[in-house]
Amino acid sequence: MSDREFQGYVNVTQDTGQTMFTLRATLSSTKIKAAIKLATGVAVPKRGSCHVVGGCALAWMSPDELLVMAPIAQAEKLRVSLDVALSEEHVLLEDVSDARAKFILSGTNVREVLAKLAPMDTHPEKFPVGSFNRTRFAQVAGAVFLEQDDLVSVICFRSVQDYVYALFCDAATHGSEVLVRE
């Protein structure tokens, strides 16, 4: 699937250049946290947030689960370094790149487009830059990462990627703005 793009009052782009790993581990363990940081170069994020260093991102999925994201070119190296760093620990590391899809929304009104589709509070006080939230887009599960005030990553299952892409394109269509901004 090639990258597709939609131009609306918020732009929607599919990013197919990402690899994703699910990492389940006891994230309260300082030993495990140190090993993850050693392998990825990224500090384990606090709940509800995502850290990015040099293209590699760690997102908080649940008290015992992280989502590791990186450019596809780094996938093999990342996999090996995580395997080595966590070889002594009881963890689960699985490549889920082919099970997930990632979209990028950009534009000043990204919060509004998110609010149209997800039952979450997108106000800057409740959802500041760096936040990561697992929620629901219309009928399917998904996750949101607010990278910048006008840049959002949306992650969903690949089996529903066409549905999610169509949802966001529809919500971002010119003329469907809810708030009029000067």
Binding site: S62, P63, P119, M120, D121, N133, T135, R136
Partner: protein, 109 residues
Amino acid sequence: MLILNCPYCGCDKDETELAAGGEAHLKRFGPGSSDQDFEEYLFERTNPKGLHFERWRCAFGCGKWFHAARCTATLEVFGTYKAQTLEPPKVIKDVITTKRPGWSWRNFS
């Protein structure tokens, strides 16, 4: 519309993001228990109008089960707490005592 704060995610979740799990603090009677205990465990549920303790799952979020204390008549939420407990924590009980003095639910009060 019910909004519960998931104690694992630490953020508010809409009812549509959650899965209801029925009455909380049940004691399981499995193999080896008497027929009556098993029947009560399986079928007998309190269905109060007012204060109730329930199990909820953060289905579209972290996937964890948690407990909620709320009023079934007014939908007021007294608090949510993690599931790794046999009874409601004191902070939750104190909130309920403030708002519903003299409350009782099953053997808790």
